[in-house]
């Protein structure tokens, strides 16, 4: 056994990884604090992560071997234990530690929808409703969920079929699931845990439908957890991931709730049945809009960062085939094809981290305005949250899968950590709004703004560029010119405007030729989606450039970030060459220069690849990967972990029952 431990002893870093760290061109610690937004944040984050990871209740060690029932139970146990832990550590929901807790748990905890439940009451509920429900929820005297999606309806909310009919005689709403497709389906924590949920239903008063509204409905007894009368609920069965969450179904049959249970900050049904609206109807969707932005960091960007960390560290340890005869086998990270798979993902992870900061600023400002009942920024917030959620989730999902496949066979083992990162992140393409539909919503906003800008009217700040249509050609003369941000930002801007204006023109043409508006829209949707993506892509590149300009020029940070920014921008042009070549803005010869510059950058960033993922500062426990640990002792760990598999610890009943008769040729007795 000893010889297997040689050079792989835990604690000593694999020399193949150690050498990568010695040549870093920048200070890893400094970059980590930049990512965290300051040294104090880094300190708090590390303290939270350490406290969580030291506690055995929060361990994820056996996660890959557990069944759905075991995962669910562990998640509930963790959620309950977390309350104790927070109390013990003095962490508060409004304290600086709070945002890092979920990250430290890697999301492997129950009652996440409980928070959405509370948030929707805070945003949509009146002061009295907040005063009544929030303390109960805070103390976990009830467990909440958020029931919007139905079996037959998802992103298209107006199509929801659940009904809430107001009964003036008893001052109650009567909730019903009129048909099977109206059954609530998917809400987290609802299958087994929740006692209450916010149900979205079509409101009917005196026979008139007022559209979708939120209602607080109790579904399980607070005493023995049995289902309340008229309620049918359960778990929707195994999924690709989220085994720890009891996504549920819910059927309502003449369930009566008091009038006060409709969340009524913005609209109310008065005792006599009069419907009163205060402010914009759109506010009902604001919870959703903020959710889209708040999930980006933990659910979309962090998984890509983790996947990059695992794949890049493994690629520095894995040696395969020879680059030069006579030398030892090369690290696979030295192959250009491997760099081309992984390094653009790394650059994107940084680009998205910065665009996420941008979105948070945008939303903080917007949130304040809305609290003051100024709704003017809603369209822009809605369009931004939709477009960036779609673009980032789609890109990061693809990116994680690229990382998975870049690890060859071992990436396919659950022990690599990559399959579960992938199956988890890919749900983000669907939840909180299906991506294609979201992009079309962004496109609708852009088309409106484009028309306004063309007519010289004011438009929100993020789209003022639409007024700046100027035809022309890219002025770059050689491949180095493409490392000038002005050159590539201009190219992205030009392409975004071109795609939008040509789609707007086509829409116009169709309508003028007599095609009905909605039909014209459907005929242009493929292009509209493309235009919305191009807009988001442009803003992301521009924001990356502006962020790099503002970075401190110390410890090599700005320089390496500039390289990553260049790589992100040029990779985008290289991969979408047709869009940039289309009207000749970029010529064929310039495209060859871009390709050359792009490939050169791969070699430059290669040298700092491992330090760049180290800067994400994930602990081994949070990666939970046999391939991606800091010390790079990949094979030793893989072997040790495999031996822990339950398949190796118990005698398989299959041998006695089937294999033995098979081997002994007693098939006929089976």
């Amino acid at each position: 056994q000893d010889k297997y431990a040689q050079g792989f002893g835990l604690g000593s870093v694999n020399p193949d990884l150690a050498s990568e760290r010695q040549t870093a061109s920048f200070s890893v610690e400094r970059l980590t604090t930049v990512l965290d937004g300051g040294a104090e944040h880094t300190r708090v984050r590390r303290a939270v992560v350490e406290a969580i990871e030291r506690d055995p209740v929060f361990s994820r060690e056996n996660q890959y071997f557990q069944t759905q029932n075991e995962r669910y139970e562990a998640a509930v146990r963790k959620a309950v234990h977390l309350q104790k832990k927070m109390h013990e550590m003095g962490w508060r929901e409004d304290g600086p530690e709070f945002i890092y807790i979920y990250r430290a748990l890697a999301g492997d905890v129950a009652f996440l929808l409980h928070r959405v439940f509370m948030r929707s009451i805070s945003v949509l509920g009146s002061d009295e409703q907040v005063a009544k429900w929030i303390p109960l929820a805070t103390k976990h005297q009830l467990i909440g969920s958020y029931a919007q999606t139905e079996l037959g309806h998802g992103t298209y909310l107006q199509g929801l079929e659940t009904t809430a009919v107001f009964d003036t005689t008893t001052q109650e709403f009567i909730l019903n699931t009129p048909k099977i497709s109206a059954m609530k389906w998917w809400p987290g924590d609802m299958g087994r845990s929740a006692t209450h949920t916010v149900v979205f239903a079509q409101l009917y008063v005196h026979g008139k439908c007022y559209g979708v509204h939120p209602f607080i409905v109790q579904i399980r007894s607070l005493r023995d957890h049995s289902l309340c009368p008229g309620i049918t609920a359960g778990d929707i069965g195994p999924k690709m991931n989220f085994e720890h969450i009891d996504n549920g179904y819910l059927m309502l049959q003449n369930v009566r709730i008091p009038r006060e249970n409709m969340l009524n900050k913005f609209c109310e049904v008065q005792p006599d049945g009069t419907y009163v609206r205060r402010g914009s109807q759109k506010i009902n969707y604001f919870t959703m809009t903020t959710l889209r932005v708040s999930l980006l960091s933990d659910e979309v960007i962090l998984p890509l960062m983790k996947a990059c960390t695992i794949a890049i560290r493994y690629s520095a340890v894995r040696r395969q085939s020879k680059l030069n005869p006579g030398e030892e086998e090369a690290k696979i990270l030295d192959y250009q094809t491997q760099q081309e798979k992984l390094l653009p993902q790394l650059a994107a992870a940084y680009a998205f981290h910065f665009i996420n900061n941008y979105l948070h600023k945008l939303f903080d400002r917007g949130y304040k305005e809305i609290q003051e009942r100024n709704f003017s920024s809603l369209p822009e917030l809605h369009a931004s949250s939709s477009g960036f959620k779609a673009m980032l989730s789609q890109y990061c999902t693809a990116g994680v899968e690229i990382c998975l496949r870049a690890c060859g066979g071992h990436g396919y083992s659950l022990l690599s950590g990559l399959p579960s990162l992938y199956t988890k992140i890919l749900a983000s393409c669907i939840y909180e709004g299906e991506n294609t539909i979201l992009l079309l919503q962004t496109a609708r906003f852009l088309i409106k703004c484009f028309a306004a800008a063309s007519a010289g009217q004011p438009v929100p700040q993020s789209v003022t560029y639409l007024a700046a249509v100027k035809p022309g050609k890219c002025p770059a003369k050689n491949k180095l010119d493409f490392l000038n941000p002005d050159i590539y930002v201009e190219a992205y801007q030009h392409t975004a405007i071109r795609l939008l204006s040509s789609t707007a023109a086509k829409l116009q043409d169709l309508i003028q030729s007599g095609v009905k508006k909605h039909e014209a829209w459907n005929q242009c949707t493929v292009q509209l989606v493309q235009a919305a993506k191009a807009h988001c892509h442009y803003i992301t590149v521009k924001n990356f450039v502006e962020t790099v300009e503002k970075l401190e020029n110390k410890a090599g940070i700005q320089k390496i970030m500039k390289h990553l920014c260049d790589l992100y921008a040029l990779h985008g042009i290289f991969s979408n060459a047709g869009l940039f070549l289309h009207d000749g803005y970029i010529s064929g010869a310039q495209m060859d220069m871009i390709t050359a510059s792009y490939l050169d950058l791969l070699g430059v960033i290669r040298k700092d690849a491992v330090p760049l993922v180290d800067a994400f500062d994930f602990t081994d426990k949070s990666l939970n990967s046999a391939l991606g640990s800091y010390d790079g002792n990949v094979y030793q760990r893989l072997y040790e972990w495999a031996q822990k598999s339950p398949t190796n610890q118990q005698i398989s009943p299959a041998y006695e029952k089937y294999l033995r008769p098979l081997l002994h040729n007693k098939l006929s007795k089976l």
């Binding site: 029932n69 299958g191 294999l659």
Partner: protein, 646 residues
């Protein structure tokens, strides 16, 4: 509505109608079981073993012995999923047949045929996959005892991944570096007993087990194997070709190229598998999209089928066309292999290198495309696609390893590229090349013109498949040439050939991709003229055009940069793609029905033939393990105590 005759189009997918193993299996109560989604990994392994045992018995009972019939029977029993005896049937037995001496066949073949011996094929190691020469396991010959001593000298040399190795097999064919008379003679195959017959316990010197949970392949006991001075008799080396004589003298094999044949065969199976897996995913997504209603197209009208949205059609129909394209490509490779395998037996290996290079690339191209396509289909089913009841997660996790096994895809693309560069250099040296690369011959004529890019403009007619094949051909020629020239430029700058190759490898992979893309377009187009039924030919022509034009639209940069198509033509292509979507729409469901997957085989609630999706989702969910009791035990263990305390 449907103008394509269902039976007719089915007919072009399945050339020969063997006996119907499907009916035999589906009607057999012995092969029924609980939905696999609700079982743990150990339970799934047990189910698979149970069915495999039954399957072997029934194959004998029905007298099924033809390899292709066995393949179909197996595929229906296991519903297209892997099973623990795969490597025994697919690798262990065939390897004995092709590489064992008659004496070895006497000793091993019949016991293996009768399953007293269950074997696997142990090649991949923890630290080494596609690059075979890097394998570290050693087999050292000891003339004193006339034995080989097998060792796993490092942790990276532990055999890792072989199917059926962990728990099922009692023998393995082990690939190891042969050492005799102090010299390394390279990789050779050895028959190694690993478990005691009778007790099934690992033999002394053998450490064997399961490698743990994976993305998919739950029913397969992929295993590890570590050997410590484990001795086997000299006669256990497979010695039909290379031999070690009793005194340790090594006798070389005649030719290396023979192993190409097996690789071509297996890779052609993967191309077929790409087609089938993508077809299954398309069937599910398209049927579901016809059942799912959402949002509104026209104000005031009922919610339309989501299949009526242009964006949904744009996601799914190009994939449908791709599935058909890959079916034809898979059939072509299989036929070509059959045609030339007669020559191979007679020692004529002349056509093998090209076919070998081509299948490497096509294996990579089709498996990458299908892999991404399956995910697109799942995504197109929205939230319900994410549920295991959709069946698509299962198709994906079962299919995705084919991007890695039997040759990692990037490495495969580079093998094809090596052949392309070689062919290009031959042309540059004044020779002519034949086969699928013959378009390179034209380059030499054009080289005299200085502005090669502009000069190559072909007048492409975007509604004529044959003209479009020319456009793809021009693109392939341009990118193969560019890669070859970049490689040459690197060689002029640097000393090492390998370094230059590495610095050009992104270009080289692209060159292979566009070459494969051209081959597929060419084969699909050629297939059209073979279809006799006019209605079927019409609908296949639409699909072929969609496949071809969509490929241009998605890779517009290549076609514009090379001057093959103008901006205006690209705009036309984009427009034509959208028109084709509307044309194909009425036939979409019929086109997936033609794939003829039985509901049991499809394993999907969303993709049911009868379209009764929602009722059956509810029925399915009720069986979930979390629903076994009305109040989950977690309530009593955790929730209640917490509520009491707070």
């Amino acid at each position: 509505v449907c103008n394509g005759d269902y039976r007719q189009s089915r007919g072009i997918l399945f050339s020969s109608s063997v006996l119907s193993p499907e009916a035999l299996v589906i009607n057999d109560p012995d092969f029924q079981h609980e939905d696999l989604n609700f079982l743990s990994r150990s339970q799934r392994y047990e189910q698979a073993i149970r069915k495999s045992s039954l399957m072997v018995m029934k194959l004998r009972e029905y007298g099924i012995a033809d390899p292709e019939e066995i393949y179909w029977f197996k595929s229906f029993v296991h519903r297209g999923r892997p099973e623990p005896l795969d490597l025994h049937l697919g690798m262990f037995l065939p390897t004995l047949l092709t590489q064992a001496t008659p004496e070895q066949q006497d000793r091993f073949f019949m016991p293996a045929w009768n399953l007293e011996i269950i074997g696997t094929y142990a090649q991949t190691e923890m630290g080494h996959g596609t690059h075979l020469r890097g394998l570290e396991t050693t087999a050292t010959y000891d003339p004193a005892t006339q034995e080989f001593i097998l060792n796993s000298p490092t942790v990276t040399s532990i055999k890792w991944w072989p199917g059926g190795l962990g728990k099922t097999s009692n023998h393995a064919i082990v690939l190891a570096q042969l050492y005799t008379q102090g010299q390394c003679k390279g990789l050779h195959a050895f028959i190694v007993p690993i478990r005691q017959l009778g007790t099934h316990e690992p033999l002394p010197g053998i450490t064997v087990g399961d490698i743990g949970p994976k993305f998919g392949y739950d029913e397969m006991d992929n295993g590890y194997l570590k050997m410590d001075n484990f001795r086997i008799p000299r006669e256990n080396m497979l010695m039909k070709y290379a031999q070690v004589e009793p005194d340790g003298t090594y006798v070389k094999p005649l030719s290396d190229k023979l192993t190409y044949g097996t690789m071509v065969f297996i890779r052609s199976l993967i191309v077929g598998d790409s087609a089938r897996s993508l077809s299954r995913a398309c069937t599910i997504a398209i049927r579901y999209s016809a059942v799912r209603h959402q949002s509104e197209l026209k104000p005031g009208e009922p919610e339309p089928q989501i299949l009526d949205y242009q964006t949904q059609q744009y996601k799914l129909f190009p994939l449908l066309a791709t599935a058909y394209a890959f079916h034809f490509v898979g059939a072509y490779i299989k036929d070509t292999y059959r045609r030339i395998s007669g020559d191979i037996n007679e020692g004529d290996l002349s056509e093998l290198p090209e076919l070998h290079a081509l299948t490497a690339g096509l294996k990579a191209f089709t498996s990458w495309t299908a892999n991404a396509g399956i995910e697109e289909c799942r995504m197109a089913c929205g939230g319900h696609g994410y549920s295991r009841c959709s069946g698509i997660p299962d198709i994906y996790v079962t299919f995705t390893p084919s991007c890695t096994y039997e040759g990692e895809n990037t490495v495969m693309m580079l093998q094809t590229a090596r052949f392309l560069v070689k062919s290009y250099n031959q042309v540059a040296a004044g020779q002519r090349v034949s086969g699928m690369v013959s378009y390179l011959n034209d380059l030499s004529r054009q080289r005299i013109q200085p502005q090669h890019v502009a000069a190559r403009t072909v007048s492409v007619r975007i509604n004529d498949p044959v003209s479009l094949v020319e456009a793809y051909k021009a693109r392939a020629a341009r990118l193969v040439e560019a890669a070859a020239k970049n490689l040459q430029a690197e060689l002029n700058h640097r000393k090492s050939k390998e370094d230059a190759w590495n610095r050009t490898s992104v270009d080289l992979v692209r060159a292979s991709e566009v070459h494969c893309h051209y081959v597929i377009v060419k084969l699909f187009t050629a297939k059209l003229s073979e279809i006799s039924n006019a209605a079927v030919r019409a609908v296949m022509t639409e699909l072929c055009l969609l496949y071809t034009l969509y490929g241009i639209s998605k890779n517009a940069g290549d076609f514009m940069q090379a001057g093959i198509l103008t901006d205006a033509q690209i705009t036309q292509v984009n427009q034509r793609v959208k028109e084709l979507l509307a044309i194909i729409r009425p036939n979409a469901v019929a086109l997936v029905d033609s794939f003829d997957f039985h509901d049991t085989h499809l394993g999907s609630v969303l993709g049911r033939y009868d379209g009764n999706v929602y009722e059956n989702m509810f029925e399915w969910a009720k069986k979930s393990p979390l629903n076994k009791t009305e109040v989950h035990e977690s309530f009593h263990k955790h929730l209640k105590p917490m509520q009491a305390k707070l």
